[in-house]
């Protein structure tokens, strides 16, 4: 194995730690898109470094190059001062550089110990369970990670799985660790625990890089930050030299309008009502006594970490799942448990979070997908579907070669445009929209948000489900918080109370109206 750098200086000094990993003048292009344009990046021992940028800025590409997944087209990568050329993630790992991706690389059916040991060539032919257990326990003590070696990964929460990934890297003695959007799947309490662990690792001489687009977390834990935009590095300095506004402007390139655009008219009649919705917990947390009302001309935003019943609620409202208790009324019609057609005919449209797996048939053409939710007769109108598709492509400015293009080939933003074109074009009056701007670049995010607000102003009723609290706050007229299948908080946008909402997201009943919390 190649030589490793010795542990660097400790503490938050950052700039004085030894240089553990660097990129010099690195460029990388994918079919026509220049993802990294002469990028310089430095990572020092003992620091937690934020690699910031919007979706599409190039930060994930840079991280992938530094950790061996991609190779740069030009430029140089150095580890501990030595130029390296990684041919695979395994090469990088052998030199002490690892990455934890947003989608964890764990085998669900295996135990924690088996996952940690997988692919480790230092193990003998026969595996030794006792040895693994000891190593895991040692690491757990050292970095404050609670971890049970014999648990099956499938039973673990996302936060616990992330811990397994971290231990996996520590066992392989990484000195440099990249984490790609690590807090996306964590509850507030888990975020603190993660940051504590990362701090201890940095104090131990390791270099941590957080690839993220969440500003508030950057300020709470990072020492330095590098901001990327359009494939280039636009700013790199110690955190104390930045303010949230300067970073945001660097990320987006212009002043971003962060002020909400509230509705100018009072909301109309109730068009979507859910009373006493209940669902037994199973693989999910279930729903417990959920009451919800949405009126014409308002946006109600549901905040909360994913996995707290939002998906079940959305599917019950859209008629995809049947609740065990309660009633759903759309425009006065009872559609409880009657299937998606009933909800749709009553005037409800559903834009699911899982675009390519649920909302669209990714292997079919744009034309076919636009007809997915239409009621066709015995004959399928091919000519009509193509006309519809051409119209949608024009109206929403979708970058596609034509109505027959397969949806899977479209980029993320264009996929969402097709989905929105179909659902918003269906003459519905109630819209259930989940994570509509997730994964889109800045232009796409603005497009979607403006679109939703336009529809709201024209009298539509919108239920917005989003894990991004800032987004909920920006767009909603009323805010609802869900935790473990309960509604833990409700308030008007004007009465936004950060502390109460934070508590409600974590499961404590906060201000506003109460609901059952356990």
């Amino acid at each position: 194995m190649a030589s490793r750098p010795a542990g660097g200086e400790r503490g938050r000094a950052g700039a004085s730690g030894a240089l553990l990993a660097e990129a010099r003048n690195v460029s990388k292009a994918f079919t026509g898109v220049l993802a990294n344009d002469r990028v310089d990046f430095e990572l020092r021992a003992g620091e937690i470094h934020a690699l910031l940028g919007e979706n599409g800025a190039g930060k994930s590409t840079l991280a992938s190059i530094l950790t061996g997944l991609y190779s740069a087209d030009s430029g140089e990568i150095r580890v501990a001062g030595q130029p390296v050329s990684f041919r695979s993630p395994r090469d990088a790992l052998a030199r002490g550089v690892g990455i934890i991706h947003q989608h964890f690389h764990l085998v669900d059916r295996f135990t924690v110990a088996e996952n940690i040991v997988l692919g480790d060539t230092r193990q003998g032919f026969f595996m030794s369970p006792a040895g693994i257990r000891r190593a895991v326990a040692d690491l757990g003590d050292r970095y404050g990670l609670e971890i049970a070696p014999d648990a099956t990964v499938a039973e673990l929460s996302l936060g616990e799985r992330q811990r397994v990934e971290i231990v996996k890297m520590l066992v392989r003695e990484v000195d440099v660790l990249f984490l790609d959007e690590p807090t996306a799947v964590l509850a507030p309490g888990e975020v603190e625990a993660l940051f504590a662990t990362l701090r201890r690792m940095a104090d131990d001489g390791k270099a941590i890089a957080l690839v993220t687009h969440k500003l508030n977390e950057v300020f709470s834990i990072c020492d330095r930050a590098t901001v990327m935009r359009g494939g280039k590095v636009v700013a790199a300095a110690a955190i104390k030299d930045f303010t949230p506004e300067t970073i945001a402007r660097a990320m987006v390139g212009r002043d971003v309008d962060l002020k909400p655009r509230p509705s100018t008219r009072p909301p109309g009649a109730v068009v979507l009502a859910a009373r006493g919705l209940g669902m037994e917990a199973g693989h999910h947390c279930g729903l417990h006594g959920v009451d919800l009302e949405i009126r014409a001309g308002e946006i109600v935003g549901i905040a909360g970490v994913a996995g707290n019943g939002q998906l079940q609620l959305a599917e019950v409202l859209a008629g995809l799942q049947q609740p065990d208790a309660g009633k759903v009324t759309v425009n006065g019609t009872d559609v409880t448990g009657k299937g998606p057609h009933a909800a749709r005919n009553a005037g409800l449209a559903y834009v699911p979070e899982d675009r390519l797996g649920t909302g669209l048939a990714s292997g079919l053409s744009i034309a076919d997908n636009l007809m997915l939710t239409s009621d066709t007769g015995f004959l399928f109108d091919r000519g009509g579907s193509r006309k519809k598709a051409a119209a949608a492509i024009g109206e929403y400015r979708v970058k596609a070669s034509g109505p027959e293009e397969v949806v899977r080939r479209l980029s993320g933003g264009n996929v969402q445009k097709i989905l929105l074109a179909r659902e918003l074009g269906n003459k519905a009056s109630v819209f259930v929209v989940a994570s509509p701007a997730r994964g889109l670049d800045v232009a796409g995010i603005e497009f979607v948000r403006n679109l939703l607000q336009d529809y709201r102003d024209r009298g539509a009723a919108i239920l917005l489900i989003s894990e991004d609290l800032d987004e909920v706050r920006l767009l909603s007229d009323r805010i609802v918080v869900m935790h473990a299948g309960h509604i833990t908080h409700q308030c008007a946008a004007a009465d936004y109370d950060e502390a109460a909402i934070g508590l409600a997201i974590s499961g404590y009943s906060g201000g506003g109206r109460f609901a059952d919390t356990r």
Binding site: V33, G58, P340, G359, A361, T376, F380, R409, S411
Partner: protein, 368 residues
Amino acid sequence: MLTLDRRLHTGPFLYVAVPLCSVVLALLVGAVFLAVNGFDPLVIYREMLTASFATRYGIEDTIVSATPILLTGLAAAITFRFKLYNIGAEGQLVVGGICAAAAALFIGDTLSGPPAVLLVLIAGMLGGAAWMVVPALARIRLGTSEIITTLLLNYVAVLFARLLIFGSNTPLRDPTSTNFPQGTRIPSGTFLMEFGTSRIHLGFVIGCAVAVLVFFLLRDTRLGFRARVVGDSPGAARYAGINAPATALALLLISGALAGLAGASEVAGRAHRLDPNGLAVGFGYTGIIVAALALYNPLAVVPVAILLGGLANAGETLQSVSGLSVPSSISVVLQGAILIFLLAAEIFLHYRVRRVHRLPARPAEGSP
């Protein structure tokens, strides 16, 4: 090092080139195979070509052979295309033949001409569909793999047919045949019309008509659309409120009916009796190859069936031509080779090969 790049667009040229290349490559490998085993490939291939496509008798034979595999090819195409694997066309054909023969004998002399023939064909279709019912229901209600259930029923169907003719004394068995049992000849009023003095019977025309019907069914009807969605994305089907089990059931039963129709066509058009040894000769499996080579396009099934019909014919002829003594199974070997090469070549429909000198890279899901 070679790497695969996703194609942005697949030209129509490729849709013809890929199957064509598969056939050519298979013939090349077949030639090597023959040479290694002491046969002269050029002579063999020339014989095969002449036997099937160059003489009038040969062409007639080819079309007669193509008829059942055209229908079983359609049966395979409408299911395989949507990730449902009906491998039971072989058995459904046999059961269709049994039902057709039984219906014909039952009709006897009371009816003749088109109404009689129609009844016989319908009986065949119902028989084929019935043989599909248990595997289809098990698949949609319980998730039991239809691959194994339909396949095993093939063996059961053939044994059943043998039982009827060789193992028992039902009306289907010809009472006058004492030395070697065979099926009772069906009344001539139920024959499928033959064209002039050739042995080409109406079955071929019916098959072509059915191919056109199936093409429009899949492209222009609601069932075809639902099938597309269900085959591509069960999640999207659920979201759209499409009844996926009902769609799958419809496709499977239609497939069984098509295979049953093939059996009826063989009984009413060619053999004019229930002949287990003549029915269970692999039409079902060849049909799968036909479907795959046609890239599951119903219209393309027709020319491909003629090609493979000629191939099967040629194999039979070779065996009887003295001096050559090539086992007829050479055509099965070639069929298998064609399918193997097609499977290998299919990737080029959607991917291009490129040489790189370092680790290849494509944007991960999401964005760079």
